[in-house]
């Protein structure tokens, strides 16, 4: 049932597939970035190593591909919270190579997660920092990944007046609304795992074009769960549903939320928690939707891969699970 695609060396810490599933970026604990490419035609599934180099001092903990509209580029997040953007380019008459074009973060303010979203005005990058800040950067020149501008900086709170002490965040999870094109404003979802309960609950942020600012339009937590640390979030692709579907994982389980499409007079979107599913012994590592937004795959602390679906009555349930065995 499972077909082996690749075996990797000791020290591999993270992997990421590009938009078409034909390139794989692999990060290692010694700071090495490797790129593997599928052969063509794709019927042969083996992957070829096309790049391998030590790009960082520390451990690469996560890799995120940039949208393909901006070339073949990855953001590597190191254990010490530095994000570096690497791009595959052939400059002048030189051959193709991976080059670093930008880095974000420093030792005092570590980057926990970054995600890229394409909006009508260009490429945006949301970065979540260990001090609880969220920064949105904008790419200034669509052909040049060196030049970014800070567009906004805010904290993941609904009421901007709420006061709290210095936040310390362990992890953060970001997911852009996967909607491509159309008239919709760009929006994303972010949740924290921190010591500051106000920051934690996942909130949907939407860009207000008229006032050029980001506004929280929905909070995905029941009143009694608002302080719960968020482990993972995932916004489902919407191929035509009259509502959005979002998965949020906290220690209480895996919640499926339906998010309305039309704001009320306060600009808020209606939210409804349609399921709370248990699995993974409470700690979810990662959640991924398939391209139709019908199946959610999750991994977690129990070492299992679980698949979730709604049945014909819209009731969510576990459809299958995979248990790794040697």
């Amino acid at each position: 049932m499972a077909k082996e695609l690749l075996r990797l060396d000791n020290g591999t810490s993270c992997t990421a597939w590009n938009y078409s599933g034909t390139r794989l970026a692999v990060g290692s604990s010694d700071g090495t970035l490797s790129i593997f490419d599928s052969r063509h035609p794709p019927s042969s599934s083996s992957l070829l190593s096309t790049f391998k180099s030590r790009i960082l001092e520390g451990n690469i903990v996560n890799i995120v591909w940039l949208p393909p509209e901006y070339g073949d580029a990855v953001a590597c997040i190191s254990a010490d919270g530095i994000v570096s953007l690497w791009e595959e380019v052939a400059e002048d008459s030189h051959s193709l190579q991976w080059k670093m074009c930008k880095s974000f973060g420093n030792s005092s303010s570590k980057v926990l997660d970054v995600r890229f979203g394409v909006s009508s005005t260009g490429l945006k990058m949301v970065a979540a920092y260990s001090d609880g800040n969220v920064r949105v950067f904008e790419l200034l020149d669509s052909l040049e990944l060196r030049n970014w501008q800070l567009q906004a900086e805010f904290q993941n709170v609904i009421e901007s007046v709420s006061a709290f002490g210095k936040a310390s965040c362990v992890s953060a999870s970001i997911s852009w609304n996967p909607q491509k094109g159309g008239g919709q404003e760009s929006s994303f979802l972010i949740g924290f795992n921190s010591n500051t309960s106000e920051l934690n609950s996942s909130k949907v942020w939407e860009f207000d074009q008229a006032h050029q600012r980001w506004l929280p339009v929905a909070e995905l937590a029941l009143p009694e769960d608002k302080g719960d640390e968020v482990h993972a979030v995932a916004w489902a692709p919407n191929i035509g549903r009259p509502y959005e579907i979002i998965a949020v994982a906290t220690r209480k389980g895996l919640a499926i939320w339906n998010l309305g499409l039309n704001p009320d007079q306060n600009g808020r979107l209606s939210v409804e928690r349609v399921a709370l599913l248990s699995g993974h012994e409470g700690l979810v590592w990662q959640m991924e939707w398939d391209m139709s937004g019908m199946t959610l795959a999750t991994t977690g602390h129990d070492g299992m891969v679980r698949l979730w679906q709604a049945n014909l009555n819209g009731v969510w349930h576990q459809q299958a699970a995979f248990e790794p065995t040697s």
Binding site: G21, P41, T295, V305, L312
Partner: protein
């Protein structure tokens, strides 16, 4: 609202029950520390398994397709079913346009569906075997050869009950034929008559006196009970009494065997002509009833015949009389003779309720047969059959989905709705719980996603997606977006699909991705081409800017060649590419300047001056080019034969120099890399030219 039938109505049918846990054999020495997941196209899930000492990437395909059919055959079916499916969809839409009603199901619709069904059915397996040859291996009882699959059996079953209105009148007879074709499939889960026949056939060579073997008579009654008359007749001919070198007098015995065989071969059937099969066919019910009664009376007469007493062979006597009991519809004999409920069910139609027409009360009989023949393991076709007899579309759909996979469901929905308003409502009603789509659309989406998972089948997914009213296009967009632009064949196919379905925004997005990919990978020409196709003004503007920059830096002839081609590619339309108009004029100027440098023709020089003046007048010419342009033109300004610039032209250039010296004071001004005396030598040349021009005028 229809209810979810026992948890079977899942969105994507994975085989097995809803809490199935599948082992994932990774073969790594140490236990897994962490797993990361990524969905690829369609239903393929990539897992990265990280262990202490190494890691492994595996791909898992999530689909409920069974292993009965090989991948290659499955793909053949997938490709083969596209044309009939598309044809039916187009018929449906033209019919509903014609009738102007929401439901296109008028009286003849089923004929279209039947044609569709026959075409699809023919993909699932070869034609049925032709009648056996007359001279053949005498020990071969059971016909073989045809590759029977459960998928084909399921398809035929659905077609028989839902679509084929013409044969509704002789439905029981069709079931008899169906079982004859597919009884072998049930052997995988339990004992069947077919299985017993095959076993017996293998041992036939070792059996000396066949009529003394009780299995011979058991099998005769079994085969007769489900109406396999040819097999029964053939087996009866193996009876020892037919042999010529008889030691004892077996004429009577032989006569009885022959009499039974004759009656069997005369069994009346209510069906159109069936070529090459034993039995007599009657198309009309009254004729059939008359023939049936006559036939039955002959059997009763034979049963009471005094010849039985004269038959010495007890085995033959009892065996033959049991066959008569079968034919007389003795329910106990039928129950003994059959192995599982479907066989018993068929035997009831043949001998107990021969006048049944249509589906009426068929379900009650089925339940009775199931009670008589309970089984621990049931075959998947059995579940499907119960659903059909129960006339419960949801159960049928759930069985198809769970046991046979998305292909069957997506295609069989057309059959299920062919004749039933109720099924039509059920399957085409839009539901909020499904995100606003119908069950029919859902199953098409699920099937299209399976197609999308494979590089060899993704290209047919659009046919199914575009037949989905609500969400098909959305999924198609996601599918197209996820195709790699690296390879031109895939890229062109992708764009072709976009063109076909008028997905302009997707195709321009794809072309932009391709443009950026090529541009960044050093194939500047291909990059510009695709960006132009995408009409991506912002990227093209940026490229034009980069060209300006490189042009501004140095204007050596070597460099000129490089960017000349690029300007050509970018085209002359200034709109999408911003300041390209300038680059075109600049190229013209450079060309005429080159001509001047090789010859001494004043005409060429005048032409070059013309280009220079156009460039300097043009507002799109960036200021930082002014000085390099003038510096390049020194030779023209100092032309020996005559002054090439008029007074007004010279004044224009002098004004530009003045503007430049003002611009120098601004902070963003960048000094062009020219010799330090460039400005003064230009000024001097202009002054001299002005003087000469004044004198000339």
């Amino acid at each position: 609202m229809p209810s979810d039938t026992g948890g079977n109505g899942s969105l994507v049918p994975f085989s097995g029950d809803s809490t199935a846990v599948y082992p994932l054999h990774h073969g790594l020495a140490s236990p897994i520390r962490r797993i990361s997941i990524s969905f690829s196209c369609g239903n393929s899930l990539r897992l990265s398994l990280f262990a202490a000492a190494s890691a492994k990437i595996v791909e898992v395909k999530l689909s409920g397709e069974d292993n009965e059919i090989s991948d290659a055959h499955r793909r053949r079916i997938a490709y083969g079913s596209v044309a009939p499916f598309a044809m039916l969809q187009s018929r449906r839409s033209s019919l509903s346009a014609l009738l102007k009603t929401p439901s296109p199901y008028h009286s003849d619709w089923w004929e279209h569906v039947l044609q569709y069904s026959k075409e699809i059915g023919s993909l699932l397996g070869g034609p049925k075997l032709t009648p056996s040859p007359i001279i053949e291996n005498p020990s071969a009882i059971v016909k073989g050869g045809e590759e029977a699959t459960s998928l084909k059996a399921a398809w035929e079953l659905i077609e028989m009950f839902y679509v084929d209105k013409q044969s509704q009148a002789w439905l029981p007879e069709r079931l008899v034929d169906w079982l004859a074709d597919y009884d072998s499939l049930f052997t995988s889960t339990h004992e069947t008559i077919h299985g017993k026949l095959v076993d017996f056939e293998k041992e036939l060579v070792n059996i000396q006196v066949i009529e003394d073997d009780p299995r011979y008579w058991d099998l005769l009654s079994s085969a007769l009970s489900v109406g396999w008359l040819d097999i029964v007749a053939k087996m009866l001919r193996l009876h020892g009494s037919y042999q010529l070198d008889q030691l004892s007098h077996r004429e009577i015995e032989n006569g009885l065997v022959e009499a039974v065989a004759l009656l069997i071969s005369q069994m009346p059937h209510l069906r159109p002509e069936s070529v090459g099969k034993l039995g007599e066919c009657y198309k009309s019910k009254p004729d059939f009833i008359k023939a049936w009664e006559k036939w039955r009376s002959q059997i009763t007469k034979l049963d009471c015949s005094p010849y039985w007493i004269q038959c010495d062979n007890q085995q033959t006597r009892e065996g033959l009389r049991n066959l008569l009991q079968i034919m007389l519809g003795n329910s106990e004999s039928l129950c003994m003779a059959t192995c599982y409920w479907i066989e018993l069910y068929i035997s009831h139609f043949l001998y107990i309720r021969p006048f049944t027409m249509g589906i009426e009360s068929m379900y009650n009989l089925a339940q009775k047969c199931i009670q008589l023949k309970p089984r621990s393991s049931t075959h998947r076709l059995s579940g499907l059959m119960i659903g059909i007899l129960e006339e419960n579309t949801e159960v049928v759909l759930a069985e198809c989905s769970r046991e046979f996979g998305p292909w069957l469901v997506a295609h069989a929905i057309e059959l299920l709705t062919a004749g039933s308003e109720q099924a039509e409502m059920l399957l085409h009603e839009e539901r909020y719980s499904l995100g606003g789509i119908s069950i029919a659309e859902l199953h098409r989406l699920v099937y299209a996603q399976i197609l999308s998972s494979h590089a060899l089948t993704w290209q047919i997914a659009p046919i199914y997606l575009t037949s989905c009213m609500k969400q098909g296009m959305g999924l198609l967009e996601n599918l197209l977006y996820r195709q790699s632009v690296q390879h031109n064949d895939v890229l062109l196919k992708n764009i072709e699909i976009c063109r076909l379905y008028e997905l302009d925004h997707i195709s321009s997005n794809i072309m932009k991705i391709a443009g950026v990919y090529h541009w960044k990978h050093g194939r500047k020409g291909a990059g510009v081409f695709w960006l132009q196709q995408a009409q991506d003004a912002s990227c093209l503007d940026r490229i034009a800017q980069q060209l300006f920059d490189s042009v501004g830096k140095s204007i050596s002839d070597e460099n000129f060649k490089q960017w000349e081609g690029m300007i050509e590619l970018l085209g002359s339309e200034s709109k999408p590419a911003g300041g390209l108009e300038f680059l075109h004029k600049y190229r013209d100027f450079k060309k005429s300047l080159q001509k001047v440098s090789v010859g001494k023709s004043t005409d060429a020089a005048r032409q070059a001056v013309g280009s220079l003046i156009l460039l300097m007048k043009n507002p799109s010419t960036p200021q930082r080019f002014w000085l390099p342009l003038l510096y390049d033109s020194l030779k023209l300004l100092n032309w020996q034969d005559c002054p090439l610039l008029s007074v007004s032209e010279t004044n224009l250039l002098l004004n530009k120099l003045q503007e430049l010296s003002l611009a120098k004071l601004r902070p963003q001004y960048t000094e062009p890399s020219l010799p330090s005396d460039a400005l003064s030598s230009i000024r001097l040349a202009l002054a001299i030219n002005l003087g000469r021009a004044i004198l000339d005028e």
